[in-house]
C-alpha cells in the first residue's frame, strides 16, 4: 500500500483503471451467470419460431378418418428435456420454415406418423435403436401391432429427462404392463429398490433389458438375469436341494420364489441336435390349430405321440423332443417374487400325485417373433404309459409317475406275499394229510389180525 501510494500520478491512474475494469468485468460476469444458467433450461434459439405456434394449447391437425394429431408442445417442459439444447430442427429437419405452415405432408394416421418419425432417433441413438430393432417390441410393430411401443412410446421426445425411466415411479413399462407393474410394486425387488442400502435391486429393465427386450422363453432369459445378480444361487441350493442343477434347468425361479403363483408345465418342442426351440413354420399341428385352445381341443398322449412321430420321420437327422419346464401361469404372477424365507421348500408341494403344478399342461412352439405359441394338453399326458418316450425328458418323481406301474407294483407285492402264504398253506395242509394217512397206513399194516 505504501509503495502504491508512493508511485507517480500516471501510474496511479493506470492502476485505478485496471482495478475498475476488473470490478466491472466481475460485476458483468456475475450478472450474466444467471442468464447463462437460464439459457440451459431454455429451448435453443432455433426452437423459438416453432414454439411460437406449437406452444399454443389445442393446436392439432385433422387427419383422414377423423383422427386428430396433437401438435401442442409445452415449451416449459421441452425446456427441461435433454433435447432442448438441440432444438426442433435437429429432429424435424424435414420442415422448411420458409413454407411452413401449412404442412403439405400427407399423414395417414398418428401411428403412421410416429413410425416414420421413429427413424429420426436412429441418427443420434444408433446403438439403442439397433437394440430396439432386435426386440419383441419392434417385432410387434413390424407385425402391425398399434400398441407396441416405438422409441416415443417409452421416451416422450419433447419431455425426456435422462435417468427418469430408471425410477420405479416413472418407468415407462407400466404404461402397457400395468398388471405386472402392480404386482412388481409389492415384490421383494421393489421393496429392496426403495431401500437406500439395496437401491441396486432390479427394475423392469434390470431383468428384461431396456431396449433389446426379448420374449420370455421358458426361464432362460430372465433366469440369466436372476443368476446375474444371484450368482451363488446354485451353490446355496445344492446344500439342501437334491438334483439342484436339474431343478435350475427345469423349474423357473418364480415357480418357487413367487409362492402365491399358480404353476403349470410347458412342454417345448425342442431340437435336441441344435439345442434350439422348434419354430412354428412347417408344423401343421400348430399352423392349422391356432384356435384349438378356444375350441376346447386339447392334445392327449396319443395325439402328442403322433405329433412327435410326424416331426421325427424315419431317417431324419434331427431329434425333435419335448423339453419340459415348470413355470408360473401368468406374467403378473411371475413378478410376485417374495423374500427367500417365503420360498417353497417343501418337496411334497410338487412331488405328490395330484399336485396343482401338474394339472395344467401346454405344448409350445416358437412363433416367428420368438414368442411361444401354446396349445393346451391334457394333464394325463404326464402320467400316460404312451408318453414314456414322448415326454422322456420331463419327469417329477412321484407327481408324474406312470399309473400303470403302480398296478404292477401292487400285483408284485401281492404275488410275492400271496405265493409265499399260498405255498406255505398247501404244505401245512398236505403235511397234516400225510401224517393222518401214515397213521391209517400204519394201523392198516398191523391190522385186526393176519389171515391164516
Amino acid at each position: 500500500m505504501n509503495s502504491w501510494m508512493k508511485a507517480g500520478g500516471t501510474t496511479r491512474r493506470r492502476r485505478a483503471a485496471a482495478v475498475a475494469t476488473t470490478l466491472v468485468s466481475l460485476a458483468l460476469l456475475l450478472a450474466a451467470a444467471p442468464a447463462a444458467r437460464a439459457a440451459e433450461n431454455q429451448p435453443s434459439a432455433a426452437s423459438e419460431p416453432c414454439l411460437a405456434c406449437h406452444g399454443s394449447e389445442g393446436l392439432e391437425k385433422a387427419l383422414p378418418g377423423g383422427e386428430k394429431l396433437n401438435l401442442h408442445i409445452d415449451g416449459g417442459v421441452f425446456a427441461t428435456s435433454v433435447h432442448a439444447s438441440i432444438g426442433c430442427p435437429a429432429c424435424h429437419a424435414d420442415i422448411n420454415l420458409a413454407s411452413h405452415p401449412p404442412s403439405t405432408k400427407t399423414i395417414k394416421s398418428a401411428r403412421d406418423y410416429a413410425i416414420a418419425a421413429n427413424n429420426v432417433c436412429r441418427g443420434c441413438h444408433a446403438d439403442k435403436f439397433a437394440q430396439w430393432e432386435s426386440s419383441v417390441h419392434a417385432a410387434l410393430v413390424r407385425d402391425g401391432n398399434v400398441r407396441a411401443p416405438l422409441c416415443t412410446g417409452c421416451h416422450s421426445p419433447h419431455a425426456v429427462i435422462k435417468g427418469a425411466a430408471a425410477t420405479i415411479e416413472q418407468t415407462p413399462c407400466q404404461r402397457c404392463h400395468q398388471d405386472i407393474y402392480k404386482v412388481y410394486i409389492g415384490s421383494v425387488h421393489a421393496l429392496a429398490r426403495r431401500n437406500p442400502d439395496t437401491s441396486y435391486a432390479p427394475l423392469c429393465s434390470g431383468c428384461h433389458g431396456a431396449h433389446a427386450i426379448k420374449p420370455v422363453v421358458s426361464s432362460e432369459g430372465p433366469k440369466a438375469a436372476c443368476l446375474g445378480c444371484h450368482s451363488d444361487a446354485l451353490d446355496k441350493h445344492q446344500v439342501w436341494l437334491p438334483n439342484a442343477a436339474l431343478h435350475f434347468d427345469i423349474v423357473s425361479c418364480p415357480a418357487c420364489h413367487a409362492p402365491a403363483a399358480e404353476r403349470q408345465v410347458d412342454l417345448m418342442i425342442y431340437d435336441s441336435r441344435s439345442q434350439t426351440q422348434v419354430t412354428q413354420e412347417g408344423v401343421p399341428q400348430f399352423e392349422l390349430r391356432p384356435g384349438a385352445a378356444e375350441a376346447g381341443d386339447t392334445l392327449d398322449a396319443v395325439a402328442l405321440w403322433r405329433l412327435l412321430t410326424t416331426l421325427n420321420p424315419k431317417g431324419a437327422q434331427d431329434k425333435i423332443t419335448l423339453r419340459g419346464r415348470l413355470e408360473v401361469r401368468t406374467g403378473p404372477q411371475a413378478h410376485g417374487l417374495a423374500d427367500k424365507s417365503k420360498a417353497l421348500r417343501n418337496c411334497a408341494t410338487c412331488h405328490r400325485q395330484g399336485s396343482d403344478a401338474f394339472q395344467n399342461v401346454t405344448i409350445s412352439i416358437a412363433g416367428p417373433d420368438g414368442r411361444r405359441i401354446r396349445q393346451e394338453a391334457s394333464p394325463g399326458v404326464l402320467t400316460s404309459v404312451i408318453s414314456t418316450n414322448s415326454i422322456g425328458g420331463f419327469y417329477a418323481i412321484g407327481a408324474t409317475r406312470i399309473g400303470f406301474l403302480d398296478i404292477l407294483a401292487i400285483l408284485a407285492l401281492v404275488g410275492g406275499v400271496g405265493a409265499s402264504i399260498g405255498h406255505a398253506t398247501l404244505r401245512f395242509l398236505f403235511k397234516r394229510y400225510l401224517l393222518a394217512n401214515r397213521q391209517l397206513l400204519a394201523s392198516a399194516a398191523k391190522g385186526p389180525g393176519k389171515t391164516e
Binding site: 425328458g393 420331463f394 418323481i397 405265493a419
Partner: protein, 223 residues
C-alpha cells in the same frame, strides 16, 4: 446229520447287509414315490437315506464281486453249460417245489461247499446279481445327479425312461424279497437255511456230506 460249511463269513456279511439294504431301499423308495400317500419321513429325508444306503449297497456289491473273483468259491457260480442237464435239473427242482414237496419227497438237490445253489437258484441269482442289480445301480446313479450325467440320460431316452427301468426293477424286488425270505424256510427245517446264513454251516445227511453218492451237480444219485 452232519454240518457242512457252505457260507463263508464275507458272503454272510454281504448277504445280511444286502437284505437290510434292499428292504430300506424299498421303504425309502416307496416314501419317495408315494409322498402323497405315505408320510413316515419327509421327501428330502427319504431321498437322503436312499442315497446313503445306495452307497453302502454299491460298495457291498463290489465286495461280493471281489470275493468271488479272487477266491475259488467262484465255482458256486459256474453255470451248467450242458443245456439238457440244465433244463433237466431245473425241471426236477421246479417239480419238487411245485408238487413233490407237498408229498413229503426229499429235495433232489443237496448242497456242497462248491455247489450250494440248485439250478433254479443259480439261474435267478445270476440274473439278479449280474443283470438287475448292476442296472439298478446304474439307473440309480443317473437319477442321483441327472444333470451331471445328462449325456447318458438323454442317450438312453430321458429321465422318464431311466426312472421307469429303475421302478420296474423295484417292482421285481417287491415280489422277490418276500418270496425269497419264504423260500429260505424250505430247508430240512424251517430255520435251517437261516441258521446256515448266520453260522455258515448247513446240516446235511451223512451220505450227502461225504459227497460219495452225489452227482457233480449236487443231485442225489450215483456219481
Amino acid at each position: 446229520m452232519s454240518r457242512v460249511y457252505i457260507h463263508p463269513l464275507p458272503v454272510r456279511i454281504w448277504h445280511w447287509t444286502n437284505a437290510a439294504g434292499f428292504v430300506l431301499m424299498i421303504l425309502t423308495g416307496v416314501q419317495i414315490r408315494y409322498v402323497g400317500l405315505i408320510s413316515v419321513t419327509s421327501f428330502r429325508t427319504a431321498v437322503t437315506l436312499h442315497n446313503w444306503i445306495a452307497c453302502v449297497l454299491i460298495a457291498n456289491f463290489f465286495l461280493w464281486l471281489a470275493f468271488y473273483l479272487f477266491t475259488d468259491k467262484i465255482k458256486v457260480w459256474h453255470p451248467e453249460l450242458d443245456v439238457k442237464k440244465h433244463f433237466a435239473g431245473s425241471f426236477r427242482q421246479a417239480y419238487f417245489y411245485g408238487y413233490g414237496i407237498f408229498k413229503g419227497e426229499p429235495n433232489p438237490f443237496h448242497v456242497t461247499p462248491y455247489r450250494k445253489f440248485n439250478p433254479l437258484q443259480s439261474m435267478l441269482y445270476q440274473i439278479i446279481m449280474m443283470l438287475l442289480v448292476p442296472i439298478q445301480i446304474y439307473t440309480g446313479i443317473l437319477l442321483w445327479n441327472v444333470k451331471r450325467f445328462a449325456g447318458q440320460v438323454d442317450f438312453l431316452g430321458g429321465v422318464r425312461v431311466i426312472d421307469t427301468v429303475h421302478v420296474l426293477i423295484f417292482i421285481f424286488f417287491l415280489f422277490f424279497i418276500p418270496f425269497h425270505a419264504y423260500l429260505g424256510t424250505l430247508g430240512e427245517t424251517v430255520t435251517a437255511h437261516f441258521k446256515a446264513m448266520l453260522t455258515g454251516y448247513e446240516d446235511v445227511e451223512e451220505h450227502e456230506a461225504s459227497g460219495a453218492e452225489s452227482t457233480p451237480d449236487g443231485h442225489a444219485g450215483k456219481a
